[in-house]
C-alpha cells in the first residue's frame, strides 16, 4: 500500500509553486487579476515550458504522458498560487481531443496544445446550469447554432471543444464564421469566462465524443477539486500567518482561543480532503468503476469546504479581509469558481447518490 506522493510528484508540486512565487508574486498576480484579459502571456509561456500544458498528453504528441494524479497535483499548486490563465480549459480540451478525436484531429491539435502554440477550452454549460453531457441540448454536427455559457477564456482559445446533444463533442476553431464571444464578467478574474454564441458556425465532430464526454467531465471535477484544495489550504496559511502577526490588546490574535479554535476547525475542514482528491485522481486512471463517483464526491466536498474556508478567512482577517487590497478576496473568488464550475456541490451530491444506486 502506497498512498503518498512519489519524490517526482513532490518535486513537480515544488517546482510549480516556486515558479509561481517567482513569476507570479502578489503584485504581479494582482496586476493580471485587475487587468483587461486576465491572461499574462509570459506566465503561460513559463507554464508551458514546465510542460504543464501537455502533462497528461502522450509523449507521441509532445506531452509528458503522465497521469491524472500528476495533473491534479499541478492543479492544486495552481489553486494554491491562484495562478491566472487557461490551464483548466486547455487541459480538458486536450483530453477531449485525445479521447474522442480522430488521428488527424489529434495530430493537428495535441502537439500544438502541448507546445503552447495553441490554446484549447471547453464549452459545456447551457442556460439553466446544464453542465452534464446528458443534459446538453445544443444540436448540430457540421454547423452549430445556439450558445454556451461560462466558457473559460473563449476569446483566447484557438479551438473550442463544444458539448452537443447526446453527449457528443465537436471542435470549433478560432474566428469561425458566425461565432460571437462576449465576456460574462466572471467573479474569478484570474479565470475569465465568456458567453459563446454560434450562428451557422462550422464545426468538426469528434468521432468518439459520446463515449468520451463524461470522462472529460470527470477529469474536470477532479481538477477543480484539486484547485479548490490548493486555494483552501493557501487561505488557511494566510489566516494562520495573520493570527501570528496581527496584534490586539497587546497580544497576537492567535492567543484568543475562539480564533484558535476557528482556525483549527478550518484546518480539519480542508486538510483531510487532500486525500479525497488524491483518491479521485488515482481512481480516474486505476479504479475505473469508482472513477465517476469519486470525482463527483471530491468536487462536491471540496467545492463546499474551500468555499466555507474562504468565508471563514475573511472573518479571520477582520475588516481588512473584506477589502479589495487584501489578497484573501482573490482566493475567495478562486473558491467561488471551483465551487460552481461544472456544477454546484448539490448537483454532484445528487449524482453521487444516484451513482451509489441510492
Amino acid at each position: 500500500m502506497n498512498f503518498e506522493l512519489s519524490e517526482e510528484q513532490q518535486l513537480l508540486q515544488q517546482t510549480v509553486r516556486q515558479f509561481l512565487e517567482k513569476e507570479c508574486p502578489a503584485t504581479q498576480l494582482r496586476a493580471v487579476f485587475e487587468g483587461e484579459t486576465g491572461f499574462e502571456p509570459s506566465l503561460w509561456k513559463g507554464m508551458v515550458e514546465m510542460g504543464l500544458a501537455g502533462l497528461h498528453l502522450p509523449e507521441a504528441f509532445g506531452g509528458a504522458g503522465l497521469e491524472m494524479i500528476d495533473l491534479a497535483l499541478v492543479s492544486e499548486s495552481l489553486g494554491w498560487g491562484a495562478a491566472p490563465g487557461p490551464f483548466l480549459g486547455n487541459a480538458l480540451g486536450g483530453l477531449a481531443i485525445l479521447l474522442a478525436g480522430s488521428d488527424e484531429q489529434k495530430q493537428r491539435w495535441l502537439p500544438r496544445l502541448a507546445g503552447g502554440d495553441a490554446i484549447a477550452t471547453v464549452a459545456f454549460d447551457e442556460a439553466g446550469g446544464l453542465w452534464q453531457p446528458e443534459e446538453w441540448a445544443l444540436k448540430g454536427s457540421r454547423t452549430l447554432t445556439g450558445s454556451k455559457l461560462n466558457v473559460p477564456f473563449a476569446s483566447l482559445a484557438d479551438v473550442i471543444v463544444v458539448g452537443l446533444a447526446g453527449g457528443e463533442l465537436a471542435l470549433v476553431e478560432k474566428g469561425a464564421s458566425g461565432i460571437e464571444i462576449r465576456s460574462m464578467e466572471g467573479v474569478d478574474r484570474g479565470r475569465r469566462i465568456d458567453r459563446v454564441s454560434f450562428d451557422g458556425t462550422p464545426a468538426q465532430a469528434l468521432p468518439q465524443g459520446a463515449e468520451a464526454s463524461a470522462r472529460v467531465r470527470d477529469a474536470g471535477l477532479v481538477l477543480l477539486a484539486a484547485d479548490a484544495f490548493g486555494a483552501g489550504s493557501r487561505l488557511l496559511d494566510m489566516c494562520v500567518k495573520y493570527a501570528k502577526t496581527r496584534e490586539q490588546f497587546g497580544v497576537t490574535i492567535g492567543h484568543f482561543q475562539a480564533l484558535k479554535h476557528q482556525l483549527a476547525n478550518m484546518a480539519i475542514e480542508i486538510e483531510p480532503a487532500r486525500a479525497l482528491y488524491w483518491y479521485a485522481a488515482h481512481a480516474f486512471d486505476h479504479i475505473p468503476k469508482q472513477a465517476p463517483r469519486s470525482a463527483a464526491l471530491a468536487k462536491a466536498h471540496l467545492g463546499e469546504r474551500a468555499m466555507q474556508v474562504a468565508r471563514d478567512s475573511v472573518e479571520a482577517h477582520g475588516g481588512i479581509g473584506f477589502t479589495w487590497e487584501c489578497d484573501v478576496q482573490i482566493w475567495f473568488k478562486r473558491a467561488m469558481f471551483d465551487r460552481a464550475f461544472l456544477g454546484t456541490p448539490s448537483i454532484h451530491r445528487e449524482r453521487a447518490a444516484k451513482l451509489a444506486g441510492w
Binding site: 446550469g129 453542465w131 455559457l149 484568543f256 468565508r311 460552481a340 454546484t344
Partner: protein, 404 residues
C-alpha cells in the same frame, strides 16, 4: 398581548396621514419650489407638528417630543408610504447629535445640532484605525495643542461618507502619558482643509462604501472638543447608548428572507422552480425560523423599550442574529444561483438588503461577511453576549474599559 398599535395610536396614525395628505407632495405655492427647497419646507412643517427630530429640544431646532418608539415607528411607516422626507439619516443625526446634546457645550449645540438635523451639514466618524479594530482604545492618531489650535496627525479607516462630510467627530490621543483609555479626546474637525486626504477603500465586491482618512497636520480650533481632555473615550461610549432600533435590525432579516424566497421562486433548476426542491424548502423554512424569531423578538424589544424597560440579553443579540441570518441567506442564495455563482458582484452596489438581480446576490454573498465586520466581528458580539448577557468572565487580554 396585542400586536395592533392600539386605539390611541391608530388615531395618531390618522393625524399623520391627514398631515401628509395636506403637505406631501407639496401643494399650491410650495409645489412650485425647487425640489430641495420643497423638502426643506416640508421638514420644517413636519417638525413643527412634532413628527421629526422628536428627541431634539426645540431651542436647537427639534420638536422635543416625549419619547415614544411606537409613534416614531408609525411616523416612519406613514412617511415611507408616501415617500415623504423623514428625519435626516446618517451618522451625524444618529451619533453626533445625541452626543452633543449629552456632553457638548451650549455653543456647540447651537452651532451644530440645527444644521445637522436639517441636513445642511454632514458628518463622518473618526474612530477605527488600521491598527485598532476590536481594540479601539489602542488608537494612535495624535492631536497636539499648538497655540489655540489642535494639530492632528494620523490615519482613520472604515470611514463612511468621508468624501462628502463637512466635519468629522474624531477620537484622538491628546495625553500620550495617560493610560490607554484616559489619553483620548473627542474632537470635531473640519474635513475641507489641506491637512485631510480621503481615499476610497475598495471592497472585495468592487464597490467602495468606506474610506481611509489621512490627517497630516490637520487643524481644528482649541475649543472644538466635546467633553474635557482625556474624556473622549467616555464621550464616545455615551453615544453607543443611543444606538438602537431593534425593529430595524429585524426588518433587514425579513427583507433578506423575502428576497431569497423570491429568488427561489424565480430561479429554475432542472426545469422546475428551485422552491419546489425539497432540500431548498427545508433550508428556507429553517432560516425562516431564525428570521421570525428575530422579527418577533423585535416586537418584544419595541414593547419593552417603549415602556422604558430593558429587553436584557435580547438587545445584545440583534447584531449577531442579523449576521448569522445574513450569512445563511447568502449561502442558500448561492446554491439557488447555481451557475450564476460564477458571475462577478454588482460592482459599486450599495449594501443590498433585498438584492435585485443575481449579480447583486453575489454582492450580498460577500456583504454577508462585511456585515459581520461592520458590527464588530462576530467574536466580539459573542464576547458581549457571554460577558454582559450571561455574566461570564471577561477575556483575560481585554483590559477593562472605564465605561461600561
Amino acid at each position: 398581548m396585542d400586536l395592533s398599535y392600539g386605539k390611541q395610536y391608530e388615531e395618531f396614525r390618522a393625524q399623520v396621514q391627514e398631515f401628509l395628505g395636506k403637505h406631501w407632495p407639496p401643494k399650491g405655492a410650495d409645489a412650485e419650489l425647487p425640489k430641495e427647497e420643497g423638502r426643506r419646507r416640508f421638514r420644517a412643517l413636519a417638525t413643527e407638528q412634532g413628527y421629526l427630530s422628536r428627541s431634539i429640544p426645540k431651542r436647537y431646532g427639534g420638536s422635543e417630543q416625549e419619547p415614544d418608539e411606537i409613534k416614531a415607528n408609525i411616523i416612519r411607516e406613514e412617511f415611507r408610504r408616501v415617500h415623504a422626507p423623514g428625519d435626516v439619516t446618517g451618522i451625524g443625526t444618529m451619533m453626533l447629535v445625541p452626543t452633543l446634546l449629552e456632553k457638548g457645550e451650549e455653543w456647540q449645540k447651537e452651532k451644530f445640532v440645527g444644521p445637522t438635523i436639517r441636513g445642511e451639514i454632514g458628518w463622518c466618524q473618526g474612530y477605527s484605525e488600521p491598527g485598532s479594530g476590536s481594540d479601539l482604545a489602542s488608537l494612535k492618531t495624535r492631536a497636539e495643542l499648538v497655540g489655540d489650535e489642535w494639530v492632528i496627525n494620523g490615519q482613520k479607516i472604515w470611514t463612511t461618507t468621508a468624501l462628502n462630510a463637512d466635519y468629522m467627530f474624531c477620537l484622538c490621543r491628546t495625553e500620550p502619558e495617560a493610560p490607554k483609555h484616559g489619553g483620548i479626546s473627542y474632537l470635531l474637525i473640519p474635513m475641507k482643509q489641506p491637512g485631510i486626504e480621503v481615499r476610497p477603500l475598495r471592497q472585495m465586491t468592487g464597490g467602495a462604501d468606506f474610506n481611509e482618512v489621512f490627517l497630516t497636520d490637520a487643524k481644528t480650533p482649541k475649543d472644538w472638543i466635546v467633553g474635557k481632555r482625556g474624556e473622549g473615550w467616555l464621550v464616545s461610549r455615551a453615544t453607543l447608548k443611543h444606538e438602537r432600533n431593534s425593529i430595524g435590525a429585524a426588518a433587514t432579516s425579513t427583507a433578506m428572507l423575502a428576497g431569497l424566497v423570491h429568488l427561489a421562486k424565480t430561479t429554475k433548476r432542472g426545469g422546475k422552480p428551485c422552491i419546489e426542491d425539497p432540500e431548498i424548502r427545508q433550508r428556507l423554512v429553517a432560516i425562516e425560523g431564525y428570521v421570525r424569531s428575530h422579527e418577533y423578538s423585535g416586537y418584544r424589544q419595541l414593547t419593552l423599550n417603549s415602556r422604558g424597560e430593558s429587553p436584557g440579553i435580547l438587545q445584545l443579540m440583534n447584531k449577531l442574529m442579523s449576521t448569522n441570518i445574513g450569512s445563511e441567506v447568502a449561502k442558500l442564495a448561492l446554491d439557488v444561483l447555481g451557475e450564476d455563482g460564477l458571475l462577478d458582484a454588482q460592482a459599486g452596489e450599495e449594501m443590498v438588503m433585498l438584492p435585485a438581480g443575481n449579480r447583486s446576490w453575489i454582492a450580498q454573498y460577500m456583504y454577508s461577511l462585511g456585515i459581520a465586520v461592520a458590527g464588530g466581528t462576530a467574536n466580539i458580539q459573542r464576547n458581549v453576549i457571554g460577558e454582559r448577557g450571561l455574566g461570564l468572565p471577561r477575556d483575560v487580554f481585554a483590559d477593562r474599559s472605564p465605561a461600561k
